[in-house]
């Protein structure tokens, strides 16, 4: 695992990403209508650890999230999961898709 110590700071430029309360219980994964095992529990762990490459390797998954909040409404730690996923999208659009003007 390659850790980018600045990744979390860059990700959180707009202040929308906060997954520190996540206790990795997996309720979100169990409830996700997409049935994606990665989203959002592991994804947030990678982000918190600064594993930029592994987060960016999941771009399709990140843009597949329905933002339906089934996970968030049932998260025992109260993590704002949908806003975190949206913030990941904003980061990718800005840094990878070069859609800064959009």
């Amino acid at each position: 695992m390659k850790v980018d110590p600045d990744f979390l700071t860059a990700l959180n430029l707009g202040g929308g990403f906060d997954a520190r309360m996540c206790m990795n219980c997996g309720t979100c994964t169990a409830l996700c209508p997409l049935g994606v095992e990665l989203l959002p529990r592991k994804l947030f762990r990678y982000a918190l650890l600064g594993d930029r490459d592994r987060v960016l390797g999941q771009t399709e998954t990140i843009f597949s999230c329905l933002l339906c909040r089934m996970c968030e409404s049932n998260c025992p730690a109260g993590v704002h999961i949908a806003e975190n996923v949206r913030t990941l999208r904003t980061y990718i659009n800005r840094e990878i898709h070069a859609l800064a003007e959009a």
Binding site: P33, L66, L67, M70, R86, L88, N93, H97, A98, A102
Partner: protein
């Protein structure tokens, strides 16, 4: 190979910046639904569609186009399309809609306006200034373009002297009520969904619909905006006997939207699971969101009928509409 995310979102962002809509429709298509209703222009209280109902036929058409490319090697064409779209609005070409389909979605807006009138609510409409609220750009993380657009919409409402907005779909409700106040300093317009407005009114039905149905809650209404009881109260008043699916209210299951704009195949899989859940309870399915209606209708088997809540409510509460 999936649909190219970058090019598709680029088209969306470019459209919002240059043409002030995700899928620019043109004034005639945005306002066609008002024909014959005599809704006054402007006012302190306005019915705000945010173009969502009007846009659904174009979203359906675009989704059909995307589905062709979702697993093909022709995805590079989206890059060309984006370049072209910067010069010319390609929406009418890429998202061709039929008059019949547009009429089907416009009818729901007419239902809503007629219901508000029947309930004695006074409201105006902004016509060509009824701008898209920017929900898709927000959801897809196009933040800079979204905030600029939200400021434009806010200024547009301020200039028109609007103080209260009645919305017609969950996404516009969520944008104007919960997101705009966070991104537009001083945004203080009161926002209510027409379902909330109607549920507060004590108005009598003209006839009982006398039918059974099951209800699909929109994720955005139920989990973002807390609109759960109002549709049930109104349907019960209309004479509809509801059976609840296992996943309902704040535990509702997604219809697959707005995934259809990037991954039509995945969206259809989710919608199919949902229509199976609903169909096992009752073959008559009620929705309260244009995107839910479109996504579930697309995959519904012939024996399952998906209708918007306004169809039932208009039948119960409104005088019969004169033929056009």
């Amino acid at each position: 190979m999936p649909v190219p995310i970058k090019s598709t979102l680029g088209i969306l962002g470019d459209n919002l910046r240059k043409r002030h809509s995700a899928l620019p429709l043109g004034r005639r298509k945005v306002t066609a639904w008002t024909r014959g209703l005599g809704i006054p222009r402007g006012g302190k209280t306005v019915l705000y569609t945010g173009q969502m109902w009007q846009m659904v036929p174009a979203i359906n058409a675009m989704s059909r186009q995307l589905a062709k490319y979702e697993h093909s090697r022709m995805g590079f064409l989206f890059g060309f399309a984006r370049s072209m779209n910067k010069l010319v609005n390609l929406t009418p070409l890429l998202a061709r809609t039929s008059a019949r389909e547009r009429e089907e979605y416009d009818r729901r807006l007419r239902n809503i306006a007629r219901l508000l009138k029947a309930a004695g609510v006074e409201f105006g409409y902004l016509y060509e200034n009824d701008l898209y609220a920017g929900g898709l750009a927000h959801d897809e993380g196009l933040d800079r373009g979204f905030v600029a657009h939200a400021e434009r919409v806010s200024e547009n409402l301020r200039r028109a002297g609007v103080e209260r907005v009645i919305t017609v779909d969950p996404h516009t409700t969520n944008m104007l009520r919960s997101v705009y106040p966070k991104v537009v300093p001083g945004f203080s317009i009161a926002v209510k969904s027409y379902l909330e407005v109607l549920a507060e009114r004590d108005f009598a039905r003209r006839r009982s619909v006398d039918r059974t149905a099951t209800i699909h809650d929109s994720c955005v209404y139920a989990r973002y905006e807390g609109v759960v009881d109002q549709p049930r109260k109104l349907l019960a008043g209309a004479g509809v006997r509801l059976s609840e699916p296992e996943l309902s209210g704040t535990l509702t299951f997604c219809c697959g939207g707005p995934l259809e704009t990037l991954f039509p195949g995945k969206s259809a899989e989710i919608a199919t699971r949902r229509i199976e859940q609903l169909g096992s309870v009752n073959r008559q399915v009620v929705t309260a969101c244009p995107l839910c209606l479109a996504n579930l209708s697309r995959v519904a088997p012939p024996e399952t009928e998906v209708r918007d809540i306004s169809d039932y409510l208009a039948e119960a509460y409104c005088p019969t509409e004169a033929p056009a």
